[in-house]
Amino acid sequence: MNYLVTVAIFIGIQAIAANGLNVIVGYAGQISLGHAAFFGIGAYASALLTTKAGMTFWQALPFVLLITGSIGLLLGMPSLRLREDFLAVTTIGINFIVESIFQYIPFFGGALGISNIPSIRLFGTRLRGWPFLGVVAFFLLLSLLANRKFTKSCAGLACFAIREEETAAASMGVSPVRFKLLAFVIGTAMAGIAGALYAHTMRFIAATDFGFPHSVNFMSMVVLGGIGTLWGPTLGAIILGLLPEIFRPLIQYRMLINALILLLMIRFQPGGILGGSSVLARLFRRRPSHG
């Protein structure tokens, strides 16, 4: 039972980060292959604030949001000048830079990382197992609600317009600068929360937990589940989180299996499991809202 709870906690945490990536890639159409960097920034921010500044997880949380969101704003700037492939390469670069800062600067614990990160407490009790899963589920729900609200909002529509035809959107009064950066801030802040939850469940973090392969993993979840859909990234996180557990005897083929699934997906269901033209989506099709 404990084992299942732990698996569920990790899936939930990754789903929160994947939902954040969906805002950037799915809604605003800005490719990011450096999402793990922001997951890491959230983890390190919360770890340092709780171990060095003596805050509790809850006290640190607003600062974690503020720190990851503002670094997200700063590192989202390349998206203002770069398109697609160039942006992808730049965000990969950002991931490596952030990882090496954690790795080589003593303030961040260097290669030893940060240990003895306190558990999350609520009303004086340490949260482990089920109660911790409850907290993760709460934040996952929040991220889903936020995304749902975002897609129904004026800002969401502006992001979609930029994703589809940036110049046409700009010539209708939609500021590409503002909405690309907004998407980066929301998306990276979600990664930050996920990272903080990760730090407090692992209670030990090191730079390699936030490397480029993890960014690829987040992207795989979004693509597998259905890019730009509400439930897709969560579904992707569940599938990619469960697979290694189910195929534990085949653990050394894990990357092979993941790659195979992605390739088949892109070949046969390019919109993802819940994407517009997929088999599942057609089953659950609801008619778009009328004008």
Binding site: C154, L157, A170, S171, M172, S175, H290, G291
Partner: protein
């Protein structure tokens, strides 16, 4: 003067697309700029909208120099464009495309009325309001692009090669709508067109653009009668 362009220069690297283009459009006019492929017609509209940077000269709108403003701010001042090849948002529905066009406008009764009016102007859009814009035909996409621009109640509408790729019957229909908007609703329109006869027939005035320079100007009737225009653009 609603719009005034003064000795405009646009270049892409070493290639000069426009040099020293000056013209103006007054309130309530329908002005055509005709020219062949590569004359610089789209560069001109893109420069006015702020999509292409200026290499020189200035653009004045309602008495203000807007040369340095980014396109979304020009849009907020009431300049709207129907871009070449429509450029609708392909995987948003027709209705969502129109909503995006009315971005920053309150979705109140006036907006609903405007929407109904556009649906009556282009009934095909009403039929397809829940369809993705990508599934529309070329002509329907042009109509959607026009409606998307009109929903924001612009003070000037820039129309880029609306006739391109449309079948002749649709070209007539689209020009008829533009003429009606200008005549009955007082909308100021700046058209750039390869289809000289169709656009001059509905215009008040016109300019002829050749390899980046305005070579001829006059009332639409005078241009239609001009020997050079007749031989070069009307094939008569």
């Amino acid at each position: 003067m609603l719009l005034e362009v003064r000795s405009l220069e646009v270049s892409y690297g070493d290639i000069h697309a426009l040099h020293g283009v000056s013209f103006e459009v007054s309130q309530g006019e329908l002005v055509s700029i005709i020219g062949a492929n590569g004359a610089g017609k789209s560069s001109l509209l893109n420069a006015i909208m702020g999509i292409t940077p200026l290499a020189g000269g200035s653009i004045w709108y309602q008495g203000k120099d807007i040369s340095a403003l980014p396109s979304h701010e020009r849009a907020r001042l009431g300049i709207r464009m129907v871009p070449e090849r429509a450029r609708v948002f392909p995987i948003l529905t027709v209705y969502e495309n129109l909503l995006a066009g009315g971005y920053r406008r309150p979705k109140n009764k006036a907006f609903e009325e405007k929407l109904e009016w556009l649906y009556s102007l282009f009934p095909v859009l009403a039929e397809r309001r829940t369809q993705l814009a990508a599934t529309l035909s070329g002509g329907e996409q042009q109509m959607l692009a026009i409606a998307r621009a009109l929903i924001a109640e612009p003070s000037i509408l820039l129309v880029d090669e609306v006739s391109m790729g449309l079948m002749p019957a649709l070209v007539d229909k689209v020009f008829e709508v533009l003429q009606q908007l200008n005549r009955d609703h007082g909308l100021t329109i700046l058209l750039v067109e390869q289809n000289a006869s169709a656009s001059l027939r509905i215009s008040t005035r016109g300019y002829v653009l050749e390899t980046g320079t305005l070579v001829l100007t006059g009332t639409a009737a005078a241009l239609l009668a001009d020997e050079r225009v007749r031989s070069a653009y009307l094939g008569i």
